[in-house]
Point group: C2
Chain length 192, copies 2
DNA sequence: CTAAATGCCTAATACCTATAGGCTTACGGC
DNA sequence: GCCGTAAGCCTATAGGTATTAGGCATTTAG
């Protein structure tokens, strides 16, 4: 039987799919090798080690989520853009729980220097540009959105909202609009 | 040499300390056993398995952070209380990185039903009580604070803020005050 | 004083990562 | 067309991990 040849890309893709299907902790070289119908040591020709495989998943996810966010934000501004940005992340987290998990770990230094990492920060920056926030405060606002997005989705993912009413969905809509208000009146607040 | 006897508590404490010292992923039954100068299988008399050990760390951390938050919040209100709550969490995350990490995982169902879990939700509730937020919106505001706190500290922990100026500290102060403003004018916003 | 229970131990199994070294196949220079 | 080489898989092996089974000594209870 013909097997499609192994490549770093195909190995990492398989690992990412496995992560989505069974959780990031189930991603082992053994499991990936089984999936590819290959012996474990054969993978070492394509990825340096397990850490590199995980960093690969992280980089892949970073690029994917960045792309989707950029697409979602394109052509929108203000509240619409903010909602689209947040929803894009949330949908990605739902559709690809394992890939999302891979974004929640401390990755190798190399990951931060990838083109994917740079790409993933463009959408939030674009959204904020529409709010007229002073240059100096932009980074803080970026961190606010990042923190909220990350925190909410993470808490939702680990089930923190699961056992209390109302559904997380309600909070999601409401809080995004509150954040929109905060960003829209960022400067006004100073005058109080 | 006299060894202090093993108990579920002492095993979990040792595991938690190990997590703080070397990271949660380094917490293995082997490592804990080495630390306690005991053979690995001996631990099974005190913890069911590795998952239970991890859940034990999570429960311990939940209780500790909840206590510190409650202490910090006691006798304060409004912005002071919010700052104290946030700082208590941040200081705990810094002093006990491994225990903090243990709060970021999907824990067993049993953890959510512990007394510690209930205790840990009291401080945020107390803080919000001071803001005059309508009953129905309390839970959303709680989730906002939880999301921000969790997200910010998590991103800081994995190093997301490390390679861009200004220091995370600046954003921390500023964003907490912004959130205070948002909470303080929670109702006013409706009338815009 | 003895029997049971407690609490640690050794032994064994089944995975896992990782390295070393061998076999097969395709391909380019001659 | 032949042969050396390199790519890409393989087997074998070492060492670390969780977990279970069963043994032995010491403490505790009757």
């Amino acid at each position: 039987m013909q097997r499609s040849p192994l490549t770093p890309r195909s190995v990492i893709r398989t690992a990412a799919d496995l992560a989505d299907a069974r959780g990031l902790t189930e991603v082992t070289l053994s499991a990936v090798a089984r999936e590819l119908d290959v012996r474990t040591p054969s993978l070492y020709g394509h990825v340096r080690d397990l850490a590199a495989l995980r960093d690969g998943i992280t980089t892949l996810a970073l690029g994917e989520v960045g792309d989707r966010a950029s697409e979602a934000v394109a052509g929108r501004a203000g509240r619409d853009a903010l909602r689209a940005l947040c929803d894009a992340h949330r949908e990605y987290a739902r559709a690809h729980p394992g890939r999302w998990e891979s974004l929640q770990r401390r990755a190798g230094d190399a990951v931060a220097r990838t083109e994917e990492a740079a790409r993933s920060s463009r959408a939030p920056a674009a959204v904020l540009r529409g709010y007229g926030i002073p240059e100096d405060d932009r980074v803080h606002a970026t961190r606010l959105i990042g923190s909220f997005l990350n925190g909410f989705l993470h808490l939702e993912h680990i089930g923190s909202f699961a056992h209390s009413a109302p559904p997380a969905d309600d909070s999601w809509r409401l809080l995004i609009d509150r954040l929109d208000g905060l960003l829209a009146h960022w400067n006004a607040k100073d005058e109080k």
